[in-house]
């Protein structure tokens, strides 16, 4: 890449920082320059976020229909998968899978709910009484 070919596209980085790029100058020597961003990767990030939001919406729908417990909604909201939730809570993955069932969730102890609430950065009340319509 030549120095004057470094892309300077608007990107989500704009409010944050510019990034260093390595490129060659006219004499073929490597040098660094700052870049605002590149449309190609802004799109890659964009589509990843769209997917995350679609998954959250899907989870919300499931909670509303009583097919899953609110834990699923908060998992998707925080972009977590089972191994990550397991690592944060200390529960086994199969335990968490069980907790995703609304019937099991209803009978969870306060202590276990507290663990989930901490990981998802919400209060136990919010975790239990998530109104997926409002969220």
């Amino acid at each position: 890449m030549k120095k004057d070919e470094i892309p300077q596209d608007p990107s989500p980085l704009d409010k944050f920082t510019k990034e260093v790029c390595y490129a060659v100058d006219d004499k073929g020597e490597y040098t660094t320059a700052l870049s605002r961003g590149w449309q190609v990767k802004a799109d890659a990030l964009g589509i990843t976020w769209e997917e995350a939001q679609a998954r959250t919406a899907n989870a919300r729908e499931k909670v509303k229909n009583g097919e899953a417990s609110p834990i699923l909604f908060f998992m998707e909201l925080n972009m977590m998968d089972l191994p990550i939730v397991a690592a944060y809570t200390g529960f086994w993955q199969w335990t968490i899978k069980r907790h995703l069932k609304p019937d099991v969730f209803k009978n969870l102890s306060e202590k276990k709910l507290q663990k989930y609430a901490e990981v998802f950065d919400v209060s136990v009340e919010e975790l239990k009484n998530t109104n997926p319509n409002a969220a």
Binding site: M1, V20, Y22, A23, Y30, L34, V40, E51, D81, P83
Partner: protein, 336 residues
């Protein structure tokens, strides 16, 4: 309390931390590309069966921590590296370091990194930064991918240092301890060692998911993605590949430009003209990676969704694999 620490922005976080910490202890010859090359940071792996945020597990860089360790060991710098199970001890150790005037590198997760924009906060645990001061309840942070220094609260720092999941940092802290003055000869040896290591790894490891063979593996997989996942999910997988190679903190084009810069800078220490020639090859390879990203973006943007488009993408990676094989072989064969 604030240490006198010079923040130099870098393309990649671990290179930046390594360079800045070594510069701080007076090893001024070290630049980001040199740290990357001596630390043999260039890499490729595609782990099948493992998914990262629902996409393929691909990495263009070595395991976190390796660049720092290898670069320091090649330069004869003694290092301290510690992980913790107790959060209190981790913070105490950091405070003690700062009190002794030692800025410290930390491995962190980016999900709770408050100063990052929301769009970039994924569950990715191999980010690196330097803590160089403490003022009341907040720590002063030199994050190498950022233009300027920043601060973070003690609570947030603890959170990112104890992020969980793949590559969990466990409060990992590291810094160079002592060093003799680093001679030109030492750097020269380090460069040769780094090149040997990287070129051996990329071409000589008989594992089909590592190095150049790994790129071929990915290429083959890409061609099946449309059939097995559908155009949309296939596109998401490609977006993940592009993000791994291009996103901020990677240096772009899967580090290939940084490596080309390294070979050019290495030439100043090791007078071998092949290096300049091979550096040009890597620049061309970097351009090919970027062209492949453009092709991928056509797919994940939904402009191109035919099997033919995935095939073209796969073939582009095969071409890259051939070019990289030639370039790394040339490096591997140099008689030093």
């Amino acid at each position: 309390m604030q240490l006198n620490f010079q923040h130099i922005q870098a393309a990649h976080c671990e290179n930046g931390v390594t360079t800045n910490l070594l510069q701080h202890m007076g090893i001024h010859q070290i630049t980001e590309p040199l740290a990357f090359g001596i630390g043999a940071g260039i890499f490729y792996i595609h782990i099948p069966f493992l998914k990262i945020s629902g996409g393929p597990a691909i990495s263009f860089r070595t395991m976190p921590g390796q660049i720092f360790t290898r670069t320091c060991s090649a330069l004869g710098v003694k290092i301290e590296r510690k992980t913790f199970s107790s959060k209190e001890k981790a913070q105490q150790f950091l405070d003690d370091c700062l009190a002794k005037g030692q800025p410290a590198g930390c491995q962190v997760g980016v999900y709770h990194l408050t100063y990052f924009p929301k769009e970039f906060r994924f569950h990715f645990n191999a980010h690196n930064l330097v803590v160089y001061g403490k003022e009341g309840d907040s720590y002063m942070i030199s994050d190498p991918v950022m233009e300027t220094v920043t601060t973070i609260s003690a609570h947030d720092l603890e959170r990112v240092r104890f992020a969980k999941g793949a590559l969990a940092p466990n409060g990992q802290i590291y810094f160079p301890k002592t060093s003799e003055p680093v001679s030109e000869e030492r750097i020269r040896k380090g460069i040769i060692k780094g090149i040997k290591h990287a070129s051996w790894f990329m071409t000589e490891t008989p594992v089909p998911i590592l190095g150049v063979a790994g790129i071929r593996f990915t290429a083959g997989r890409i061609k099946t993605w449309r059939e097995s996942l559908g155009a949309r999910r296939g596109g998401l997988y490609l977006a993940q590949l592009v993000r791994m190679g291009e996103e901020i903190g990677t240096g772009g084009a899967g580090f290939r430009f940084v490596y080309a810069a390294f070979l050019q800078q290495a030439h100043a220490f090791v007078k071998r003209d092949e290096l300049l020639e091979i550096s040009k090859q890597f620049t061309a390879i970097g351009d090919l990676w970027r062209a492949s990203s453009v092709q991928a973006s056509g797919i994940y943007k939904g402009r191109m969704t035919e099997q033919q488009d995935f095939n073209v993408m796969g073939d582009m990676l095969l071409n890259i694999a051939d070019k990289e094989k030639a370039a790394f072989k040339a490096l591997y064969k140099i008689k030093w």
